[in-house]
Symmetry: C2
Subunit: 285 residues, 2 copies
């Protein structure tokens, strides 16, 4: 295992197994060929050619297009591609910041290869004796989670559903996952983003994670309120780095967020990490 | 002008005009076709085919290969591709951190499309009244510089010559360019890297800039000692951001270093900058 191995795992994919999903000139997603060929049978609003999947031009508005996608999502459950719907919808955007063209159940996002957005918060504490020495708050995910049970996670993280601003989502997730009040959550500083494209059984996971750093005083102890986290612990950066570098104990994409933290805070350097440049470039593919 | 325009300018190139320069299975650089075809006439140690330029297998050691490149560099001066040699040599590395395979005069690096390494230091001051409010030290380059005369630059920046460690180069450049002592220079924290590939008249500029942040107290005033900087000024981040966003007043690649600083310190955010994701990804191409 190495930092680069985690980055490679999050970016392993082969687009030749997929067909573009396009609308209004925007390439919105990627759909496996078999599903692409089935979709017009699910709803004739889907138009599949050898080159792409798109939506019939007479289906114009947000609600009608979203209803079409609801039919597809339901079909994905019947087909066994996904276990069930989440009842939480993600926006389908031509690009970040634009108006949503449609919404799609979160569970079906990878099957359509849609870009999904989320936020990860690095909660950290500065050592009083040595301001350059940092510790990072780590959550261990509950054992009953479907994704990455028992693995290590950021203090706060969450997908970006439709209808919430990033700020609102940050405050909500910080409350639910770590018991932080809104004032504390809003002190989190946006410090960049990590992007990856990972082939998964359902399709293609194309995540864009907005990264925040939140410096906390040593008196603040995170408390989980939504059952997602079993326990929190405060780890010195050296232990964090060793664990990420050598183990598979971390949720797959959290490896990348933490590696970025180690880079940005000078723990990994061009002198001590031979893969430095490949890591820095690999975190935004 | 926008942040993204500067990133695009630093990455404008067309590889179809170039042929790979390879050695021992490593793709080390890119050479314009016309030069590739001329090199065997300059020195029969160069072997040019339609696919690549390489070095004859009997020329094995570092010194012999570097002598061959010296001949090519001298030819580039006679040919008018470069004005003259710099007498400062850059390493040719299969990858960062590896042993150099050869050395090449700095002036000839772009003609061979070799990766070149350097460091940029963001010297900044935290506002006492509001810890979240930062100011950045800006240098205005001397008017007699060949590159970017009179344009804005980082407090400290320099290419990485062969034979110096990054740490040694940091201390040397911080002394020469800003009059900082070694202890102050070594407090600079490595925080990432920016990479770009830019077509220039001589060939292809493939820069890998290691980025450092150096927090300074308001008492530290940089003083240039090597004639590269005409004057320093301490700018609030808001002014820095406005100037980079709207003007062509900054040295081309410093736009990218400063944009990265604005991202990492939460001045540009996913909410206030519509090109946020494209910027974050564009800074490491």
């Amino acid at each position: 295992m190495s930092f680069l191995d985690h980055i490679r795992a999050c970016n392993a994919h082969d687009l030749s197994g997929f067909r573009p999903f396009e609308l209004d000139g925007h390439r919105l997603g990627w759909i496996r060929h078999a599903l692409a060929d089935e979709l017009p049978g699910v709803d004739p609003g889907f138009v599949t050619t050898a080159e792409r999947v798109t939506i019939a031009p007479e289906i114009q508005d947000f609600e009608a297009r979203s209803t079409l996608l609801d039919h597809a999502a339901q079909f994905l459950v019947e087909r066994g591609t996904i276990k069930g719907l989440r009842g939480e919808h993600y926006p389908i955007l031509p690009r970040w910041g634009a108006e949503p063209l449609m919404r799609l159940d979160r569970a079906a996002v990878a099957a359509f290869g849609i870009e999904s957005f989320g936020l990860h918060v690095n909660g950290f504490v500065r050592d009083g004796a040595d301001a350059g020495s940092l510790s990072l708050w780590i959550g261990r995910r509950a054992r009953d989670r479907e994704i990455a049970p028992g693995q290590f996670d950021n203090m706060v993280a969450g997908g970006q559903p439709i209808g919430l601003s990033l700020d609102e989502n940050l405050v909500k997730e910080a409350q639910e996952e770590a018991g932080l009040d809104a004032g504390t959550a809003r002190r989190a500083v946006p410090v960049g983003a990590i992007t990856y494209t990972m082939e998964v059984p359902e399709g293609l996971k194309r995540d864009r994670m907005f990264v925040y750093d939140l410096e906390l005083s040593s008196e603040v102890i995170p408390v989980n309120t939504d059952g997602e986290v079993e326990a929190f612990a405060l780890w010195p950066l050296e232990s964090v780095a060793d664990s990420v570098r050598t183990s598979g104990d971390w949720k797959f994409n959290v490896n990348l967020v933490v590696t970025d933290f180690l880079i940005r805070h000078g723990h990994l350097t061009p002198d001590n990490e031979p893969d430095y440049l490949e890591i820095v470039r690999g975190l935004r593919q």
